[in-house]
Amino acid sequence: MNTEPVRTSPKEIGKGPKETVLRVDDLWLEYRARRGMVKAVRGVSFDLRRGEALALIGESGSGKTTLGLGLVRLLPRTARVVKGQVIYSRMGQEYDVLSLSKNDLRQFRWKECAMVFQSALNALNPVLRVSEQFADTARAHNMSGGGEAQERAKELLRLVQLDPDRVLRSYPHELSGGMRQRVLIALGLLLDPQIIILDEPTTALDILTQRAVIDVLRSLRDKVEFSLVFISHDLSLAAELADRVATMYAGTIVENGDVFEIFEHPRHPYTEGLIHAVPTVTGELEQLSSIPGSPPDLIELIPGCKFHPRCPYVTQRCREEEPTLVEVSKGHFSACYNWTQVGRTHGQ
């Protein structure tokens, strides 16, 4: 795959608005299933800059969670990295996460890059009080679990709008889903990582709780500097929180750009289709349409563009060759041969 356009050349680092903290370069991941190899991530490349929030959007089976796990090397045993690099940089130093030793990897995880998983209940140890979970994490990273860590925990819990005195004494089951999710976010920030990866941070939460988590994330970003990658099927979460949005389909990024640009001028038919499939609450009734057909099979991949059987702009070339990302306007990339046509059918 030609991935040149998304890459930032070393010369640009430090020159642009913010330097790159994470660079994923032509990453391919697959895992074994009974029917064959699932090509879950196919040639993904993107950059994450310091302080930036990137949303990885896609439906179930688009490879977004596998990609997230791949970034911190938490893939299940059945998975393997076919090729590619995940380059992490800090203070001018670069290292490939995929070739870190076991020990360095332990330091990388959480200290440099924390991940908050989908199910907040299962991510916390049910028999430990919240204060002990903080202490545990601190000790695992050569910090004392006592005074300093507890002070930091209190501060972070206050930042996520929880009452530290009550929450630190509680067991996970004594907290509501939204509180647990916020505890996890605070725990993720404990070692002051550069990057936080959130997998479906608000999916199982009620509306008002979801709002609280979103507001907490937003205010945190104002107060603490970290880069955020969040993985979600929910377009509205991306609209709320992201600076940049990358749409995933069939294991690859098909569009990547500024959040306003993506929502207002999508240049990939799949992104366009998703936007027109989601109703808004505010205002009058709008016309919606679904994307015809069904999600792609990641085991037996079809030739050409993986979206072509569902695409309204399909041409012969799409059936034969798979398009790669090209820059369609400044900082906006689309993997579609017919991107100039996208946006015409809905006439908005």
Binding site: E59, D206, R211, V281, L288
Partner: protein
């Protein structure tokens, strides 16, 4: 809407469950009517009692208090035969299409069973023909490709269509759809909703659509009504455009303001409603008076924490259970 006959009427329906040695009031004295051919959406957060209400309406759960009328007849006193016709007329489509279809049966078996059981098809041949028709109605074409498949061979969206087809086997006049599209991918959700809307238009099916997603409720029930539940009680019920654009109850307003929108400009400029507390009270220990009072931005001490408000008419087809709103509109 007014001249349509009433299909279902709930009068102060309640349902409690035993949890350990305590009793939990999952649904507490709710009343509303559903007319023939109408779409009513029941909206609320998890634990508000919307599914329990749906199950009671579908006859899968018995209310522990109150009265339910089906076409004017009290379901408690109804004759065996009439009860059977009510159970046939009201069908439910469940949330999880992975759990609601028997994995060991083919699609044909799943659809034929009710047809044969209720003598709606003379023999297996006729049942297969009818199953084919039903699959066409739910836009699963060509039906012959699917009849001999097992549920695991279908996608989530296809399974949910099979669930709808199964509900349609007995020619119901009323379908309770409990979060019927929540587990389906976004890109195909709308086509499923449109298919349901078609059933309403072509077969005249009445819908109770239960969802936690107000945007979906708005899209599906634009010509119907939305009822909002909170902790087992009905707090507001109104025609959909009215509820979406001019909601009256502080809880509905908070919900609408909190929903993130799939439009960055819109969602980042939305007016927020600041709640007094983020904690959701436990059903085991409900607040006194109006159960929303510990969180309500319009809370008035001495009123809201003392008296439980009842639903009152505030005009424009809207009913609201809020002391403050009722006083403002002069409703009794």
């Amino acid at each position: 809407m007014d001249n349509k006959p009433t299909l279902i009427e709930l009068q102060q329906i309640g349902r409690s469950f035993r949890v350990g040695n305590k009793s939990v009031q999952a649904v507490d004295g709710i009343s509303f009517t559903i007319n023939d051919g109408e779409i009513l959406c029941l909206v609320g957060e998890s634990g508000c009692g919307k599914t329990t209400t749906g199950k009671m309406i579908a006859g899968l759960l018995q209310p522990t208090s109150g009265k339910m009328l089906y076409r004017g007849q009290d379901l408690e006193k109804i004759k065996q035969q009439d009860y059977r016709s009510y159970r046939l007329a009201v069908q439910i489509v469940h949330q999880d299409p992975y759990a609601s279809l028997n994995p060991a049966h083919t699609i044909q078996d799943i659809l034929s069973a009710p047809l044969l059981r209720h003598n709606l098809a003379r023999n297996r041949e006729a049942a297969r023909d009818r199953a084919r028709e039903l699959l066409q109605i739910v836009d699963l074409t060509p039906p012959d490709d699917l009849l001999d498949k097992f549920p695991h061979q279908l996608s989530g969206g296809q399974r949910q269509r099979v669930s709808v087809a199964r509900a349609l086997t007995v020619n119901p006049s009323f379908i309770v759809a409990d979060e019927a599209v929540s587990m389906v991918d976004v890109s195909i959700r709308v086509s499923l909703l449109n298919m349901l809307t078609n059933l309403k238009n072509t077969l005249g099916v009445t819908f109770l659509f239960i969802t936690h997603d107000l945007a979906l409720a708005k899209y599906f029930a634009w010509e119907g009504r939305i009822a909002v539940m909170y902790l087992g009680r009905l707090v507001e019920i109104a025609p959909t455009p009215q509820l979406i654009n001019h909601s009256r109850h502080p809880y509905t307003q908070a919900l609408l303001a909190a929903i993130p929108e799939a439009d960055p400009r819109l969602t980042r400029s939305k007016q927020r409603v600041q709640l007094r507390s983020l904690d959701i009270p436990s059903l085991l220990n409900l607040p006194s008076g109006c159960t929303f009072h510990p969180r309500c931005p319009r809370f008035e001490a001495g009123l809201c924490d003392k008296l439980s408000p009842t639903l009152v008419d505030v005009g424009n087809g809207t009913q609201v259970a809020c002391h403050v709103v009722a006083r403002e509109t002069g409703a009794k």
